[in-house]
């Protein structure tokens, strides 16, 4: 059965104003229901533009958008099934957190006072304070809670952990994983690679308004270069093994980079006396940087 994609855009173009900048140049994006999709790219690549189109805050110049199978433009009711967290979460500072959450909950329906208080307690957030008096981190917490509180089918999160400390980032990761277990779809833009690695099934990389790659995170990791360092009992031997590159020999120490399967390298090493073997976790960040930099023009 072909399930309706949670998000589907076709040839999405967004130009701001007459003769203004083109933020999106024909974006084709499909996010399957239940998946956690990381939306990555440098600043100004069109991440926020895409997200605001999904919420019908701005309108595409051309192309089509479907969110949970509906056109955001003609279905305001759809937004009751979405949880949205803006990159710079702002709300009227004169109201208390509780007033805001209660109001948003009443607009969406189905959020009990108990649910609000449970979440606030779990996140250690004082809802009786006026939003204007909260620290940046606590305001962001409020933003996270309002996005998750009604258990939406689709979470659309724009840089969700900006302003959160590492402890809260971990708590956020747990929240996303829990949402994924419940079958909720998560679409998030992020700069924090660790959180992308921990949560996302797939990532899409956007550059200058179009999608340059969509990859499963495991595939990316497999292709990623790992730094290998081998300490031998005697002088390091010269190695010629498939997948190994950038070999540098320094006395008894050999440093190289490995992509893909480690088997051939391990078998080649097995003929020698290996004192120590270090393999670093692949740096996804480096892969992303190569995508970011790749010149399409």
């Amino acid at each position: 059965m072909a399930e309706t994609p949670a998000i589907q855009t076709e040839a999405l173009v967004k130009r701001y104003g007459r003769g203004g900048a083109t933020a999106l140049k024909g974006l084709d994006l499909t996010v399957a229901p239940g998946e956690v999709f990381g939306f990555l790219g440098p600043n100004g690549a069109g991440k926020t533009t895409t997200i605001r189109i999904l919420l019908d805050l701005i309108r595409p110049t051309s192309g089509s958008v479907r969110v949970l199978g509906l056109d955001p433009r003609s279905s305001p009711g759809l937004r009751g099934h979405l949880g949205y967290l803006a990159g710079d979460f702002v709300a009227d500072g004169r109201q208390t957190g509780l007033e805001l959450l209660t109001y948003l909950g009443s607009l969406r329906g189905g959020v009990t006072a108990q649910r609000i208080h449970e979440l606030a307690a779990a996140w250690d957030l004082d809802l009786s304070k006026r939003i204007g008096t909260l620290s940046k981190g606590n305001r962001q917490k409020l933003g996270v809670l309002q996005a998750f509180m009604h258990r939406p089918s689709l979470l659309i999160l724009d840089e969700p952990t900006s302003g959160l400390d590492p402890f809260l980032q971990q708590q956020f990761v747990a929240l996303v994983l829990e949402a994924a277990r419940n079958g909720q779809t998560v679409f998030m833009s992020s700069h924090v690679m660790s959180e992308v690695q921990q949560t996302c099934d797939r990532v899409g990389i956007i550059r200058a308004g179009s999608l340059v790659a969509v990859e499963h995170i495991d595939d990316l990791r497999k292709r990623a270069l790992r730094k290998i360092e081998v300490h031998f009992g005697s002088d390091a031997p010269a190695l010629d093994v498939p997948g190994v590159s950038d070999v540098v020999i320094d006395g008894k120490v050999l440093r190289c980079k490995l992509s893909g399967d480690a088997d051939a390298l391990v078998k080649a090493l097995a003929r020698h006396h290996v004192v120590d073997l270090l393999s670093e976790e692949p740096e996804l960040e480096e892969i992303f940087f190569t995508y970011y930099r790749r010149t399409g023009a």
Partner: protein, 262 residues
């Protein structure tokens, strides 16, 4: 109607402040009437040059309908009402949008049109409350203030025209703000129309070649037909209401189609 409820709740303190302030101004002027209503004052006023009297609508102040039109419901009250209306109208969409707080609300399951109209409805209710409370307090002061010659019906008539006058300015500022998303445009257009309208109804009338301007002034549509003497001026009321509807419709139409500013 949750957006409407939230608008009223969020603004209740400010709006109650406006009700109290405007009613106080009106009551203050009304309570001066007994001291104006004496022959010495009438003679003093008659000494003013005719052009000045026309500019400030100074007539025989010993008649309450003249005094009230010029003082209680003239000058300060309509200007304050215009200030209230413009500031409320600007805030409804443009103010919220520039503060960046409109995004979150508009990302909820409420349509653009519904959100905008509910917010304008809240302003309409506030305007009605201001004019209503003011009207009731002035009516209550008729005995102690010695102006029983003014019937409650006439006081109601002028209060209704005042409310429509305010509604038109609120609609203008709301409309420009909803159309452009910019506070400063909404404030500027509202203020320019208010000032030109005021001048058009007062000083421009002194210049023969500019006298026609008066017919286009919202101040004239409010007071020009002398509702304290002749009751509700339906033509003027229709103009005020008609323009209010036009501005709201145009602003909302555009708001429903455009991009929200980040």
């Amino acid at each position: 109607m949750r957006v409407f409820g939230k608008s009223v709740r969020d603004n209740r303190r400010a709006w109650i402040g406006w009700i109290v302030a405007l009613t106080a101004v009106a009551a203050m002027y009304a309570s001066f009437y007994p001291s104006i209503n004496n022959p010495a004052m009438a003679d003093a006023l008659n000494a003013f040059p005719q052009s000045l009297k026309e500019a400030f609508h100074l007539e025989d102040y010993t008649k309450p309908e003249n005094y009230f039109a010029a003082s209680v419901f003239g000058l300060l009250v309509p200007i304050l009402v215009a200030v209230f209306a413009i500031s409320a109208g600007v805030k409804a969409i443009a103010g919220d949008e520039e503060a960046g707080t409109l995004d979150l609300v508009q990302a909820q399951p409420v349509s653009r049109v519904s959100l905008a109209l509910q917010r304008f409805l809240a302003i309409t209710v506030a305007m009605a409350a201001i004019a209503g409370v003011m009207c009731l307090v002035v009516i209550a002061l008729r005995g102690p203030g010695q102006f029983t010659a003014l019937s409650p019906g006439r006081l109601f008539a002028i209060s209704l025209q005042l409310a429509l006058f305010g509604l038109m300015f609120a609609a203008l500022a709301y409309g420009v703000g909803a159309w452009t998303g910019r506070r400063r445009y909404a404030i500027a257009v509202g203020a320019v129309i208010a000032v030109l309208g005021y001048l058009g109804d007062s000083f421009f009338t002194q210049i023969q070649s500019l006298k026609w301007v008066e017919k286009f002034s919202p101040f004239d549509w409010y007071l020009g037909g002398e509702p304290l003497k002749h009751g509700v001026q339906w033509g003027h009321a229709g103009l005020l209401l008609g323009f209010a509807v036009l501005f709201v419709a145009a602003g909302t139409w555009r708001y429903n189609r455009r991009d929200l500013a980040v």
